[in-house]
């Protein structure tokens, strides 16, 4: 038991570190752990390694809100909170923005574990019913999201352009971790470069430790659960889009509500992926793919153990992320935001060069250019997810 708890704690700490480094996706980290697997399989048993990976993944879902808020760097799943959290940052409420996503992640972990018995019984039936309709549901979801845009024609253009870019990119031979340059450019580098142009000045941040008012947590977590089911069943759909569809049911959603929902989705999906692998043997996240390399089959005890590790990781990460955010929020206004942006940009370029090579750099250049278009054309950046959704639709049809 001690080895399990130690693996959970060390994994959570590592997840915090990877979470605050912009551009590092948990799937990339999982891939590295699998590649290096033979080195430590002689020292640790497969279960301990699996718990280590799960803890990193859970902790990462908590901490990635920090760069998304303070540096404007987003992974595909943090696109949607770019506007609300950055708006709060500019208003001096960056700390509160991250705190809201922590609340969402933590309560999301509790909520999904509470409903997991129901999912364990029903997910198999739901999936067997839904699986034949996945491409059509993806088309419907995409059209709905385009229909919701003010500038529908440009939204459609961006969605299709991203889709063509995605198809071409996935067909590039001999490239490692193709998603890294693609998503880093579309959602990361493009945002930072534009923020450099605008000379963003981050004001002194207010550290509000008091109760956050006007939070409807029941509603937010329920919407988070619905959105997670959508994302869980529809490959290619990001949590941002799941949230956009789920929140469209209710008319009034404040920025605070949106941040809680977005915080909850990634953590819920991580736990749902565990249940999905147990029930339908489909690994719906990179971390679960990595875990199944070490434990090819889950039984009910494994599920209970993973739920326990999730709660340990969630608790530890929530506290660390909260204190880390307080520290960063206190310092951010003193720092030269432009310099930080340049350093982060160089980091992303170097990371892509090392992981994906020269071809990766070329993809990064194109994806960065495409990533700036929604901002100029007044379209939601989540339309860029066409880069994943259109290839998935074509593959499934």
């Amino acid at each position: 038991m001690i080895n399990i708890i130690l693996a959970a704690l060390i994994g959570s700490l590592l997840g915090v570190i990877t979470g605050i480094i912009p551009g590092i996706h948990v799937n990339l980290l999982s891939a590295i752990i699998v590649v290096l697997g033979s080195l430590y399989l002689n020292i640790f048993d497969p279960l301990t390694i699996s718990i280590f990976i799960l803890s990193i993944a859970i902790s990462h879902t908590f901490c990635k809100a920090i760069p998304a808020t303070f540096l404007g760097v987003a992974e595909e799943n943090t696109i949607f909170n770019l506007l609300p959290s950055q708006k709060m940052l500019i208003e001096g409420q960056g700390y509160e923005a991250v705190k809201l996503t922590i609340i969402g992640s933590l309560l999301g972990a509790f909520a999904i574990i509470l409903v997991s018995p129901l999912l364990l019984i029903s997910i198999d039936n739901i999936y067997s019913y839904v699986k034949n309709y996945i491409p059509y549901l993806l088309i419907l979801s995409s059209l709905f999201l385009i229909y919701k845009e003010k500038n529908k024609m440009w939204a459609l253009v961006i969605f299709i352009l991203s889709g063509i870019f995605g198809i071409l990119t996935f067909n590039v031979p001999n490239i490692k971790e193709v998603l890294l340059p693609m998503l880093s450019g579309l959602f990361g580098l493009s945002t930072i470069l534009l923020s450099l142009k605008d000379k963003v000045k981050v004001p002194k941040q207010n550290i509000n430790k008091d109760k956050i008012k006007d939070l409807n947590l029941h509603k937010s977590i329920s919407i988070g659960l619905i959105a997670s089911l959508l994302v869980g069943f529809l490959p290619g759909l990001g949590s941002a889009q799941g949230a956009a569809i789920a929140t469209s049911v209710s008319k009034k959603n404040s920025n605070k509500t949106l941040l809680v929902i977005l915080g909850s989705i990634d953590t819920i999906i991580m736990v749902m992926s565990i249940i999905a692998f147990y029930s339908i043997e489909r690994a719906r996240s990179g971390a679960i793919v990595a875990i199944t390399r070490f434990i090819p089959q889950f039984d009910l005890n494994t599920i209970i153990l993973f739920m326990g590790v999730t709660l340990i990781g969630a608790g530890v990460s929530a506290i660390i992320t909260l204190y880390l955010t307080r520290f960063i929020a206190n310092k951010i206004y003193k720092l030269n935001y432009r310099k930080i942006g340049i350093i982060v940009s160089i980091f992303i370029i170097l990371l892509v060069a090392i992981v994906s090579g020269p071809l990766g750099l070329f993809i990064l250049l194109i994806s960065t250019i495409i990533g700036t278009l929604p901002i100029f054309l007044g379209v939601s950046r989540s339309q860029l997810m066409g880069c994943l959704i259109i290839p998935v639709i074509i593959y499934l049809l």
């Binding site: 008091d210 709660l311 506290i319 909260l322």
Partner: protein, 117 residues
Amino acid sequence: MNDKTLTKISLISSFIGLILVYLATTIIQVKAYDISEIKESMVDRDAKIVGQIKNIVKTEKVLILLVKDNSGSITVVSFGPEDIEDIKEGQIIEARGKIALYKNKLEIIADSIKTND
């Protein structure tokens, strides 16, 4: 929700997590397999088999048993033979341990061996 409440809920989360880990590790039963079910893809996983001892090789440090059940046979290796000094051919045993591959042959590195006595 203020920071204090958030910290409290986080601590409660970790505490419930610890309880679940404790429950899972104490109720986890190593899965019992027919010998023929054990495959190379299962190397490093824990397994339990029940079978009859067909052959015993005893050295100072290692006990090597050939164990057979209705489906097949497998070698069980134990590095702690002092616990089972009175082991005999023909006895039914329950062996728990890790599945391993040695010289291209599957075997079980036993953590525990229980006889039917």
